[in-house]
Amino acid sequence: MSARRIFARPARLAAIAPYLWMVLFFLVPFGFVLKISLSQTAIAQPPYMPVFDVTEGRAALAAAFAQLSFDNFRLLLQDNLYILSYLRSLVVAVTSTLILLLIGYPIAYGMARLPQRWQGVAMMLVIVPFWTSFLIRIYAWINILQHDGLLNQILLALHLVSAPVVWLSTDSAMYLGIVYSYLPFMILPLYATLSKQDGSLLEAAGDLGASPLRAFWLVTFPLSLPGVGAGALLCFIPIVGEFVIPDLLAGSNSLMIGQTLWLEFFTNKDWPVASAAAVALLLLLVPPLVLYDRLQRRQLGTNG
């Protein structure tokens, strides 16, 4: 038996504790979300009717299954509020991802073309904001964007506007916040693929008569597509369910699905509907999640 094989057994044993932890605190909770999404709302604590109790045996289980209700999902489909907030989430996520790509690509490209010793520094500079509190960075923008904030002061001083512009509680502020928060997630995968590219390919394209722009479009960009995909998914998936940024920066007249879920849960105390919204959001995210999982595993080069 090779050393590698002997090593594998204790390594698998090591995985038991985290495996159980993730099953208990990641997988099982989804079961509860599903269960409660199928139950009826009740004015009680907790505010839902019990659906089934495994301890009561099979007969009780069968009786309970008969009572399962799809009312909450029906409500999601019938009430415009939910459909509109789903659509808005998708629109916001797609738009933000495209803006992120447009801004992130030139930055990642610039990083990859830096002299080697500066690349590490640039990468560090892009990662640091990711470590800095996300809430604080959104708050920093509120400081700047508010009615008498820095931005309006500058615009007024430069006589670019005659009266303070309303920036907060607008979609532009929300997009700004999203782009600002997710930019490192877009830059890093892009940089990872761009910096691995062989420069001689571009030289070859140049020798064969391609203009730099054409060479970029025909060589660099197609080769960077895995990075584009990874960056786009890494941004798109969490943005769909984003709550804090739209809540603090966007207006309250149209909500994203994360906000609707929050509202149902904390304000209306309607746990079943909130759970149904979570299930629906999750269904929406399954295809991109699977895609992301595949990319991630390929990137880490594991054989699972």
């Binding site: 002997i6 698998r12 605190f25 979300v33 610039g110 809430l135 400081n143 904030g149 999982d293």
Partner: protein
Amino acid sequence: MARTVTRLTRFNMTSLALGLAFLYLPIVILVIYSFNASRLVTVWGGWSLRWYHEFFNDRAMLEAAWMSLSVAAVSATLATLLGTLAAVGLARGERFRGRALFSGMLYSPLVMPEVISGLSLLLLFVALNAERGFWTVTIAHTTLTMCFVTVVVQSRLSALDRSLEEAAMDLGCDPVRAFLMVTLPLIVPAIVAGWMLAFTLSLDDVVIASFTTGPGSATLPIRIYSEVRLGVKPEINAICTLVIALIAVIIVVASFASKLSSSQGESAAPL
């Protein structure tokens, strides 16, 4: 890696400079405003430590800060332990039953919208009849951050030269001993970086904590968040600056750790 194109065109420099300015300017402005003597956030009234005084006399804020720091410390430690074990299982366990499920469970929380993770954990805690407070938030944060630790440590393990372990075992070490004496010292920098990342992520979270905490035990981000919803307050600027300072210290330590890590091999941490 062949690299012949390291030309710095004006376009490259501009996009890089603008990008970094965009990332950093708001934070710099926030820090400067935290030393503003004026109560009006936007009117400059000279330098002052007034808002720091205010924070250190604000019992509720201090309690929230203490709660956040202890949750972050405990959950980061648990997450580092579990995440490292998971990374070892994934990087060295070869093929085993349920491996795809395992890695799926570990990678999806990295991008899973926080409202879903928060809601699902809360429903679990309610079903278990657990009293909500310190421990429920800690468990929730451990679950989220151990995935980040796993990714960081696993990428380090995959980049490691496995012949070192094999040599140790050829020389008579059993696998556990080979791991403790050879592998572990080599991945310590990644483990340290993982702990730091877990700590800052926990210190930052507002959504999952809002779902999983109970009445009377708010974390610092929850308090900041509810204050921010009411508008900008100079005291919040001061608190944010303190958090940024704390995180800056952590980043310096973590970057030393990863420098150590990269001097011993290729650093492949994706985050």
